[in-house]
Symmetry: C2
Subunit: 467 residues, 2 copies
Amino acid sequence: MASQATRSAHLHEGGAGRHDIDPAFVARVIGCVGDRDAPGLRALLLPLHPADSAEVLHQVAPDIRAAVVHLIGADLDADVYAELSVETREEVLKLLPARVVGRLLAELDSDDAAAVAADVDEEQLDEVLANVPDEDRAVLEQSLSFEEETAGRLMQREFVAAPEHWSVGDAIDHMRKVGDDLPDRFFEIYIVDPAWRPLGAVALAPFLKAGRQVPLLDLMEPAQVLIRSDMDQEEVAYLFSKYHLHSAPVVDEGGRIKGMITLDDIVTVVEEERGEDLLALAGVGTDGDNAGDSVVGNLRARTPWLAVNLFTALLASTAISMFEATIEEIVALAVLMPIVASLGGNTGTQTLAVAVRALAQRDLTAVNAARVILREVTTGSLNGLIFGLLLALVAGLWFQSAGISLAVGLAVVINLTAAGLAGILVPLTLKRFGADPAVASSVFVTFVTDLIGFSAFLGLATVILLQ
Amino acid sequence: MASQATRSAHLHEGGAGRHDIDPAFVARVIGCVGDRDAPGLRALLLPLHPADSAEVLHQVAPDIRAAVVHLIGADLDADVYAELSVETREEVLKLLPARVVGRLLAELDSDDAAAVAADVDEEQLDEVLANVPDEDRAVLEQSLSFEEETAGRLMQREFVAAPEHWSVGDAIDHMRKVGDDLPDRFFEIYIVDPAWRPLGAVALAPFLKAGRQVPLLDLMEPAQVLIRSDMDQEEVAYLFSKYHLHSAPVVDEGGRIKGMITLDDIVTVVEEERGEDLLALAGVGTDGDNAGDSVVGNLRARTPWLAVNLFTALLASTAISMFEATIEEIVALAVLMPIVASLGGNTGTQTLAVAVRALAQRDLTAVNAARVILREVTTGSLNGLIFGLLLALVAGLWFQSAGISLAVGLAVVINLTAAGLAGILVPLTLKRFGADPAVASSVFVTFVTDLIGFSAFLGLATVILLQ
């Protein structure tokens, strides 16, 4: 293995200390592909940290990526494949022979192997698994038997456990003896009963401070949280984050330890889930992780919610059609009506973002929901007063009509109050019914604020100006 | 200290295995406050994990929280204060005497102490610091001298370092000797030269597998990344996530080790930054972390961007006012025009969310920007074709006019193409000028799609129907 010191040589530090990838380096990779220069590609990519090689593969166009994999895919560190995004991984694994993929899987830690294997084409999977050595395959098939996005999929099978009667010295002797069978990284020794049920854990720091004769039980912290293998990964991430865990044992239904999850895997989960919130809120589907990676993926992720949006926009516009006669008489209303809707839409989206974040961080619960709802509605009303007054002023000066001024001012107050209410109730309702509170909730909230904005303004104008 | 096994006794596991806080438990806390029952509160809250006590304090109303702190604030574990959100912490620290706050700070790890001290009221800070023992105060003042949201603020001063000539046995003997002066948790031993510059690190796992006589240099991985104390915390989080680090040394300008950052602090940063993206995109300011915690905080965070929104909405509506004569003639245009704008707004927001996520994850860079822009514009155009056709059909049937149908169809194609372009160019431009690409970019994108939606539709209708 090359020295790690040279591994990040292609990274340049920008003014703000950013470690971004160097476009010149990527250009050299593309140059080697043009020359079909496999040794050149190896010289460039193999010394890199796997995360950096993966980043280069992400950055280049799909045809360049395919060429790199064709030329030197079998020589890349197996970890490079573990670092790729799901869609990129699916794409490149198809280009490799089953024999190579099988070997790569055997080289990976069990949690990474499961993640990579999950992206192997269904039709190719049996052949790939046939190329994995028996022992690794049994572990891998067991990992794959857990549902995606559960603790079982995240956990690695390698962990360190000790019986409750051992001393520090016993544990050190044991670890020196088994050596290479230990996980590459671990932060705790799990103390288990004879049925392999975890009783607690000894962190390595106190372990190292203690003398050989100290019983492990004296250093043990009782198990804080027990993670069942079927627990949703978002829940696992919440527990890690809340209790500042660096690793935790995973148990089966019988409470027997089956593996461990480490915090670095959790960081990936947290980043994924947060990105999903952002996309879901904007009405971008995230199933299959294909949002943004290709035009077809884009369309599949976005077109459905635009269809919903077309439907709700048509519904909202029927409110306008009911007041066609009024608009024909006072065309200024057509000019002002989108402003009322826009202020409402933005107020609703603001509330929504705060609510979705609070739900994700468990800051919004049954205990404080009533208080939060009241606060959001109050905020909406107060902003309604501020901007209602402002817009009434502008509209009065612009169209020289006290009636229009009054109608638009009142409509803004009504709509921004409704926006505050909808912005908090829509995600709470989605959550109550077990749906993701972020999914396309902005489409629904905007529907409410459009509908109320148009009806309130045109209705008030009709009453004030025409009756 | 109570057994940790009983510490989460108040957590109930819901159907989906969720560890949510039990409303009945919160009710008992509130009951004790009503009775001014300090011993009762102590019995409820002190056995909890600090993260759980903090969660209870977050959930209750501000007056209940104040009463709890008045009654038993000095008895709470110092870590409870480290777990509170910034605004809640500011609020409760004001209620405690400087003497108590000083003692709490001395009990915390140096990174947590700096975080808590940063939220002490400016006027009270000197008095609080005077109550911190000399040695802790020096460390704390040094931590506070780093800017907020930098590596210097995140790092803890406690770490384990060894000279390059030591063996495993030397290190074990040293750790057993210094004992309590070691950090509570550490995952690596940093190998330093005589000037305390880190050469690399020995992870605890290989350290434990090796025999006493093995030189540390044989186990050392050269330093992968060096984190400067002035590095932005978002950059630090990126490096931890990318290279799967569990801890890393922090160095000063001279490259000398000053402290270490551990991954659990990074999880907090990642969660903060992601939440900020969500809020920023929706036009909610996040300075001072006061978004959502009180009506005044709400207004301060949201009113400025609504003002920008009012301004841009007024600008967009001047486009409508230019076509007043057309609308007076064909009032159906007023009904359809918000639909064109709404489809554009949603398309723009979808693109924006994808772009903001890609920028945050460094998936969108100088290397692939041209490709991503092309992909987003193509996606916008294709969705424009799909929904232009659909809306043309609906409008044709609804208003029985081929001209209206043609105008609305073409306008949707134009607007959704523009939406794709604006959705990617607005955040890229903000980023280019050093601004947060998420900040209120949806306000700007919606302005573009409103303006183009209104002008294109009304302009086309005027040309097709009235000329």
